[in-house]
């Protein structure tokens, strides 16, 4: 289900810092670690690729819950973006599933709690449901940001827009935290509930 984007002015504080947040993440050790993965995986995935992706997102223990690599590749190839967002195999976390999808098709954003909380604070309906992350809503919200982001807020990087927005959301969440005000409250200062 897609949700209407919050009005432009409510996104303005996020977009104002987006360029700097992306560049900071891109040049950070975590940014380089991400690139070591994207430049090493192959399509279709090998077993080693899946292991590497899961290790990168700290979910190596979920390998057994994913299908065998052949079946996984058939699933990845048989669907178009964003159909697989809501089709995680049972027991596979949004973190692991989104990473598996992203490193094959970088149009899929990588799920993190911080990014999800930032989206919620921005007014998107991307919060966890019944304690479970809603990756489908997360993807829909990031898709809205892809459209709304001003060109000037996107710096030159070798990263797809979904990755840029993902690290931007994390940066925005952290900035709120770093200033001693949770991002939800920082957002409220700009007139949101």
């Amino acid at each position: 289900m897609r949700h209407a984007a919050p009005e432009g002015p409510r996104l303005a504080p996020f977009f104002a810092g987006l360029r700097g947040d992306i560049l900071a993440a891109w040049q950070s050790p975590l940014g380089f670690a991400y690139d070591r993965v994207i430049y090493s995986v192959s399509y279709p995935y090998t077993e080693g690729d899946v292991t590497r992706v899961l290790a990168w997102c700290g979910r190596a223990g979920e390998r057994a819950r994913l299908p065998a690599v052949g079946e996984l590749n058939r699933t990845l190839e048989a669907h178009s973006y964003p159909e697989l967002a809501s089709r995680a195999p049972p027991g596979v976390s949004a973190h692991a599933w989104s990473a598996v999808l992203h490193f094959c098709d970088p149009s899929y954003p990588i799920y993190t709690e911080r990014a999800a909380e930032a989206l919620s604070a921005l007014g998107f309906d991307a919060a966890a449901r019944g304690g479970e992350p809603d990756y489908g809503a997360f993807v829909a919200a990031v898709d809205e940001l892809k459209v709304e982001a001003p060109a000037a807020s996107i710096p030159e990087t070798n990263w797809y827009l979904a990755r840029n927005l993902g690290v931007g959301l994390e940066g925005w969440w952290q900035a709120g935290d770093a200033h001693g005000r949770p991002v939800a409250r920082a957002a409220a200062a700009y007139g949101r509930n």
């Binding site: 991400y34 430049y39 090493s40 995986v41 192959s42 178009s80 973006y81 710096p155 030159e156």
Partner: protein, 369 residues
């Protein structure tokens, strides 16, 4: 801004586009689920930002422009922009079989498919507002062929021989593209101005792919720096030509009519002689590329020689320095020695042969390696 409704002529053009994909032999399975569609976004200003009509509402239709000459100029501006988009795919298509990594292949396809979308965008503007003339020009975008030397600007007929060229092309020539889009972002013609935001957002990835690629090449240390320097000399001088003549009555007329502005229009830089608007934009480009080359040098492996920026006078095929004999540092040279000098400072057949061997090694590092 809502996308104008599809029209029958545009649907017909889409059929022609499908034929172009076949002619270019672009692997359709690589296009995946990318949505080719026109995208419009509100421009930075609703009123004309410069020129004789500054302050008037931007023109939604070509015929709204008070000067009849604007129609022909707009048609030409949009056609040239669209021509470069499809040309770049024709120039790069053959590289898909030799991508150094799977992600580089994915990146090149992304660059290509977004350039196709930019071509769609310009065709949509042509067809939705310029009637039969627009349809004819939009069809022309699909009929000319870079491989046959038929594209409007020479840079888009030049060969892109290998992946070293691809990264230089996306870092330097696509950057000229960014500057052209940035100038058109401020156009008084609303559909053109409204087209640029989404195109610029996509262009950032193309430029990032190029700059990152060159940094990865330097990090691997397999491609000799002098060989890379010769590529930089070629692509920077080629890109400078794309700004047009430094002193141009045509550019002045286009500016006066409010159709194409300065790259940094609206940032308060007054006092630019309008007849020198191309020179001004070219200067901004040169400044930006100089900073990028400085970044390359800051990241190059120790013990390797620095890269340097060629002068704006070097090997120009357009403008006040056209066919002049200037060294890379801008100093004048005797024309008797110049041909030999160019051979030594531009890519050679020997470079290409040597690169074929280098490409069999680990010639490009993953970023962050």
């Amino acid at each position: 801004m809502a996308t104008p409704a599809a029209t029958e002529p545009f649907d017909q053009w889409v059929d022609h586009f499908d034929g172009w994909v076949g002619r270019v032999d672009y692997p359709r399975h690589l296009l995946g689920d990318f949505r080719l569609e026109p995208k419009y976004a509100d421009p930075p200003a609703a009123t004309v930002e410069f020129g004789k009509y500054k302050g008037a509402p931007k023109w939604r239709r070509p015929e709204e422009h008070p000067d009849p000459a604007a129609h022909e100029i707009l048609l030409k501006l949009i056609t040239i922009q669209g021509d470069t988009e499809f040309a770049s795919v024709e120039q790069q298509r053959h590289l898909l079989e030799t991508a150094p990594t799977a992600y580089d292949l994915k990146s090149a396809v992304r660059v290509n498919v977004e350039e196709m979308r930019h071509g769609w965008q310009m065709s949509h503007v042509l067809i939705s507002a310029f009637g039969e003339e627009g349809q004819k020009e939009a069809d022309g975008l699909l009929q000319r062929n870079a491989q046959e030397g038929e594209r409007i600007l020479q840079a888009f007929n030049d060969p892109v021989r290998n992946w070293l060229d691809f990264f230089c092309y996306t870092a330097f020539l696509d950057r000229d593209g960014k500057f052209q889009l940035g100038c058109l972002l401020h156009s008084g013609y609303y559909p053109l101005s409204a087209s640029m935001g989404p195109m610029l957002k996509e262009e950032a990835f193309h430029l990032g792919t190029g700059v990152t690629g060159i940094m990865r090449i330097l990090a691997a240390g397999k491609v000799p720096v002098d060989m890379l320097q010769r590529r930089v000399n070629w692509w920077v001088s080629t890109s400078l030509d794309c700004f047009g003549g430094e002193q141009s009555r045509k550019a002045k007329a286009v500016y006066d009519l409010g159709l194409k502005g300065r790259y940094d229009e609206g940032e308060g830089h007054e006092g630019v002689e309008v007849a020198h608007v191309n020179e001004y934009n070219q200067g901004l480009y040169h400044e930006e590329v100089t900073q990028i080359v400085d970044r390359f040098n800051a990241h190059r492996p120790s013990g390797t020689p620095p890269l340097f920026m060629p002068s704006q006078k070097f090997r120009r095929r357009v403008g006040i320095h056209k066919d002049g004999c200037f060294a890379i540092d801008g100093k004048p040279m005797k024309d008797t020695a110049y041909e030999e000098y160019l051979e030594a400072n531009l890519p050679t057949k020997e470079d290409d042969e040597r690169l074929e061997e280098i490409f069999k090694e680990e010639w490009i590092a993953p970023r962050g390696a």
